[in-house]
């Protein structure tokens, strides 16, 4: 069922911490230039899925294929070097490093640092003015923008974005949505977006899946007329 040309193809993936299984037999694909949203409440295994894809957690079963290459057992840095930008939900930036150093770390060898920096500063002008500032002194919203900016520095083929909208004002969420969509148009990057914010997810994504207790419970296209209410049912208290 997996599309061999997909940028990211996950099939039958099972993993967890210690003996606790957190995700069970998950299959999911993200095609080139596609944005897929993965929704679910806290503790349902969304972050665990991303950490397993990145190689931080070993897969018990199943595999992860990126651009046709099986990376299931690769180390995280090897996976990252396949132009994969992963933005974790917590402790995602180096608080004690400067904004500039954080951006520099977006590229493995600072090869196209100057060009990409110039472009990023067009997208988020405030970053250009604060390259020497400690990243930890940025506000919450600015830190999230720095996080996306750092991901874009890598010229990624695939972005794995973990709850970027959490705790942000609507105006900033809107801004991040525009950046993601524009980047997809420009470079054809594929994005797997882990979210709890239904509005944001449906605005950006082409398709969505709902994760419940470690399994995919429901999925569909963002153009489905009742998508929002269907997802909201899954997420309700």
């Amino acid at each position: 069922m997996n599309d061999p040309g997909a940028t990211l193809a996950i099939s039958g993936l099972t993993s967890g911490y210690g003996e606790a299984i957190v995700i069970r037999g998950i299959s999911l694909t993200v095609g080139a230039g596609e944005i897929v949203a993965l929704l679910g409440k806290n503790g349902m295994g969304k972050s665990t899925l991303l950490r397993t894809v990145m190689g931080f957690l070993p897969a018990r079963e199943g595999n992860v294929v990126i651009d046709g290459i099986d990376v299931t057992r690769d180390a995280p840095h090897r996976i990252a070097r396949r132009s994969i930008a992963y933005t974790p939900q917590e402790q995602a930036i180096f608080q004690d490093l400067t904004v500039g150093d954080n951006l520099r770390l977006g590229q493995v060898e600072s090869r196209w640092f100057a060009e990409e920096l110039a472009r990023i500063c067009d997208v988020f002008p405030f970053l250009g003015e604060r390259l020497e500032q400690r990243a930890g002194t940025l506000s919450g919203g600015e830190q999230k923008m720095l996080l996306i900016a750092r991901a874009l520095m890598a010229r990624p083929r695939l972005m794995l974005v973990d709850e970027i909208s959490e705790g942000l004002q609507p105006s900033i969420i809107e801004r991040l949505a525009r950046v993601l969509v524009a980047e997809r148009e420009r470079t054809g990057v594929a994005v797997l977006l882990v979210e709890q914010n239904v509005r944001f997810a449906l605005e950006v994504a082409d398709r969505w899946s709902v994760l419940k207790l470690g399994e995919i419970d429901d999925e569909g296209g963002s153009d489905m007329p009742n998508a929002a209410s269907r997802i909201a049912d899954h997420l309700s208290v």
Binding site: G18, I21, L235
Partner: protein, 593 residues
């Protein structure tokens, strides 16, 4: 407390054999070997104390040589400067022990404070022998400085006599230590090594136990040192030095940490061989020991004895004999801390890390028989709040009262004494202890463990017993906790917490990683705890379906504040809560409280 007879019998059996061997050995051995062995037997007793501290309790010590040096110099100084005779010998031994105890108590007080890192303990033990040797150097004529003292009067008994004295001393110490480490108190030491945090939250006074153990180890070391000085008639600063301290570690590591017998054999074999080869192959022998030591640490961290016994068992085809599991005895929980009034009142509690406010203005109460759930998105401060309730040091301000008694600024063991039991998020148990031993460690406060025997019954309050029986743990009492399935580990920790007979139970995501069936079982247990035992339960939970099914009240935390405190229906119907969970923005603090 009834004792397990097999242990005493084992000790007596092996003790008699060892004493018999010792009795005849001098008649078959070369006088030179006997002399070497006397020293080795005394050092083996010292190595045994290193194993008690490091192998069993997890305190990596470089400093046991210091106590050996103290004992040796007490003997040499008294005999040289004051006088010689039975009363002087007793005085010297007494002074040596007192000095060693004082040094050990001081070092322990310095090293094992609440929240000290294990590394700091090692630093203090590292400083000990350096200080002792420098003090000896500084003593000038009195201590003989770097050349030490020699030629003082002593008992010029025959080598055989000294051999028997040293041998009996070692056998007695080893036998006592063997009973001790296999006693219920010995299991507490292993529990401290495995998981010091869990111990503290079970109300075990970890620092006091460690200090006491260091004092005992120091006493044994001082006696051994005294014997050494009285026998050899020579003392030098090296006896209390850092190099001897590290050599002890090598012997223990090679023999097998946490086996008692391994370190004793290791010390005797290596020390005797070293003395033998020091003439012919000094450097190569030390090189070999060094290589072996590195290889064992890297590849066989448990040392050689466990490997040898495994091989032996395979050869003779015998399986490890399992001790009998204790019988479980139900008791009625006294409910520690239970008094009149409200179980828990929280007023104005806040917590900040630097400038980051994680909790602010938390006010709420918990009632008897209530299952109160704390929910909220990641980073809302739920776990921080649980921490503040279970450890008085955690909060930055505000008051917490339990049945009218103020929690104040006290550590977790005080919280346990007030009636709070905390279950951690990840199953937090003692990996190498059996299920029964884990439960018995949890009973430390209420049923103080024996220091020389292992009880044949295990008293558990009914609530804990029910969990043990319903989850199948009762059939696995002898299983090491690390071999349990994930769900059983969670259940075991919950049973351990209930064994404290708490009035208030704090649970941090008890269902994380459990199957649906296990969730339902835990849910049923929690409900019965509130309904039958009338406990107050505070539950942090991500799975909102689970919360809805079992809670009697829900508190919603968001950005460190309580935004809603109400019934399940109120929370489910709240637009505010839906917004928080759907990720829409919420102006902090604008919600109703």
């Amino acid at each position: 407390m009834p004792r397990r007879r097999s242990d005493i019998r084992t000790v007596l059996k092996f003790g008699i054999v060892a004493l018999a061997v010792l009795a005849v050995a001098p008649f078959f051995l070369d006088i030179y070997v006997v002399n070497i062995l006397i020293r080795a037997l005394l050092l083996a007793a010292l190595a045994l104390t290193v194993d008690l501290l490091w192998g069993y309790t997890g305190i990596l010590t470089f400093g046991q040589s210091a106590f050996f040096g103290i004992g040796a110099y007490a003997c040499a100084l008294v005999f040289t400067h004051w006088g010689f005779g039975a009363q002087w010998a007793l005085l010297a031994l007494f002074l040596g022990i007192v000095a060693a105890c004082a040094v050990a108590a001081l070092a322990g007080w310095l090293a094992f404070y609440h929240g000290a890192s294990p590394l700091y303990g090692s630093i203090v033990t590292l400083a000990l022998p350096i200080i002792v040797t420098q003090v000896i150097f500084a003593g000038g004529r009195t201590t003989g400085s770097s050349s030490g003292l020699s030629g003082f009067p002593t008992y010029y008994w025959s080598s055989e006599t000294w051999f028997w004295i040293a041998g009996v001393f070692l056998v007695v110490i080893t036998g006592l230590a063997w009973l001790f480490v296999r006693s219920d108190m010995g299991r507490v030491l292993v529990a401290i090594r495995e998981n010091e945090t869990r111990c503290a939250y079970l109300g075990i006074p970890v620092s006091r136990i460690k200090i006491l153990l260091l004092v005992i180890a120091g006493t044994i070391g001082a006696i051994a040192g005294f014997g050494y000085a009285a026998f050899t008639n020579v003392v030098a600063p090296e006896l209390g030095g850092f190099l001897l301290g590290t050599e002890l570690l090598i012997w223990v590591a090679l023999g097998g940490r946490g086996t008692l017998i391994g370190p004793v054999i290791g010390a005797i074999l290596i020390d005797v061989t070293s003395s033998y080869l020091s003439g012919s192959l000094p450097f190569y022998w030390k090189l070999l020991i060094g290589v072996l030591f590195v290889a064992v640490i890297v590849a066989l961290p448990q040392g050689l004895l466990p490997e040898v016994t495994r091989l032996w068992r395979r050869l003779i085809g015998r399986r490890t004999r399992m001790a009998d599991a204790p019988t479980l005895e139900p008791i009625t929980a006294q409910e520690v801390g239970r008094g009149t009034g409200q179980p828990l009142v929280v007023r104005g509690v806040h917590r900040h890390f630097g400038s980051l406010q994680v909790l602010q203005g938390i006010d709420f109460e918990a009632n008897r028989g209530e299952l109160l759930s704390l929910v909220g998105p990641n980073g809302a401060g739920k776990t921080t709040l649980i921490r503040c309730l279970a450890d008085g040091y955690e909060r930055s301000g505000g008051t917490i009262t339990i049945f009218g008694r103020n929690l104040g600024k006290w550590g977790p063991d005080r919280c346990v004494a007030l009636g709070i039991g905390r279950k951690f998020q990840a199953a937090n148990i003692f990996a190498t202890l059996s299920v029964a031993e884990c439960l018995r460690v949890a009973r430390y406060r209420l049923d103080p463990p024996s220091i020389w025997a292992s009880g044949t019954t295990l008293r558990l309050p009914e609530a804990a017993l029910r969990i043990v029986e319903e989850t199948g743990l009762a059939q696995s009492l002898n299983t090491e906790a690390r071999h349990l399935a994930h769900g059983q580990k969670q259940a075991l920790e919950l049973a351990m917490v209930l064994a404290l007979e708490p009035s208030i139970v704090l649970l941090d995501e008890p269902t994380a990683g459990l199957t649906r069936v296990e969730r339902e079982r835990i849910g049923a247990i929690l409900t019965s705890l509130t309904e039958r035992e009338r406990l107050s339960i505070l539950l942090v939970e991500h799975d909102l379906d689970f919360v809805r099914e079992i809670s009697s009240r829900v508190i919603v935390l968001h950005q460190g504040q309580i935004v809603l405190d109400g019934s399940v229906e109120e929370v489910v119907g709240s637009e505010l809560v839906r917004n928080i969970y759907a990720g829409a923005s919420l102006d902090a603090g604008s919600g109703p409280t």
